[in-house]
């Protein structure tokens, strides 16, 4: 029981660490490269901005779900451990 708990906690923290690193890298990239463009579209091309807003949030939703699920599967403590 004690070993199981330790394995679960270790997997949990490794998972959170990898996820945090991926997400941090991702959002700095997004903020850095897209920030200016999005602000420009918001002020000048509102229709393009609205379309991009939906595409970005849906795309991110799908992408992060795949990443999160894969990480959870990968780090789930196995029965034989």
């Amino acid at each position: 029981m004690h070993k199981e708990l330790r394995t679960s906690l270790r997997s949990f923290f490794i998972g959170r660490f990898i996820y945090a690193a991926l997400v941090a890298a991702y959002y700095f990239l997004v903020l850095h490269f897209l920030g200016g463009w999005l602000a420009h579209w918001f002020h000048e091309e509102r229709r393009l901005y609205a379309a991009m807003a939906l595409v970005l949030i849906v795309g991110q939703g799908i992408l992060l779900e795949i990443v999160t699920r894969s990480l959870m599967e990968l780090l789930k403590p196995r029965a034989e451990d």
Partner: protein
Amino acid sequence: MTFLISGTHIDPVYLMAVGFVVGMLGGFFGVGGSFLAGPALFAAGVPMNFVVGTDLAHIVGKSIVAARKHRTLGNVDVKLGAIMVVGTIAGVEAGAQLIQALKRTARIDWAVGVTFILVLLGISGFMGWESVKTLKVFGWAKRKPGKAGTHPSKRDQSAVAHIAKRIHSLNLPPFVSLPASGIKRVSLWVILGVAFFGGFFSGFLGGGAGYIRMPCLVYLLGVPTHIAVGTDLFEIIISASYGTVTHALKGNVDILIALVMHTGAALGAQIGATFTQFLGGPRLRMAFIPLPLIGAIIMLHGLLAGHPAK
């Protein structure tokens, strides 16, 4: 850091943390979490019109994750969700138009804020009363697994089930049946009315308005709580997607804030949806009660203390 679109200065870690908390609650209770996300954004200095629009946008991404999880658990009534889309979209547009009208006045913070608080207090009070009554009638003891192999948490009881029965007997054609929710016959207009009501609050207060739609599905339509949770999330994707586009066109969405918040929410939603398997209907509803109250307190504090951006 400064978010150029809304012109607000917020720490991205704060946004991620807010996203994580509302993501977990969203996955667990089937609500978008705007009862906390909205007040949290307002408290951080985001203007009220951006609070409404941005919250809607962040919820699109989060609901995709949680709805998919609930679909695999068999908690989504696709037929009910598809019917509700029409009423939801009309409601969202009505709510967004009202925000647009209020934007021209100086009273938008108070109008939205006070409505938010009243709605949250009402929901919390009603759900508290109903859950206690149900648990008194049906007992607080843990129930044994059903004969058909149903997980105990999936079987549902409600002390106000007679309201749904009365609504089912309304003679207002056309009628539809919802086998996935165990409803033999209900007026189409009732479903559209519930959808419009939820959509209106989604467009007016932001988020998916699951805090309105979920109780309506359970108490008015008689949908089992777990199906209501999953179907509500499915509906939130539609209402929030439409709301994102219409609010973005009206200049009420800072998509960068939404993207950062969503990174925390994606993880929280996975964890929250998994936990729904361990609580029964009345207990699940009871666990929900303090959350709108917390949102109401944050919003009240924001309104009384003055908006940080001002």
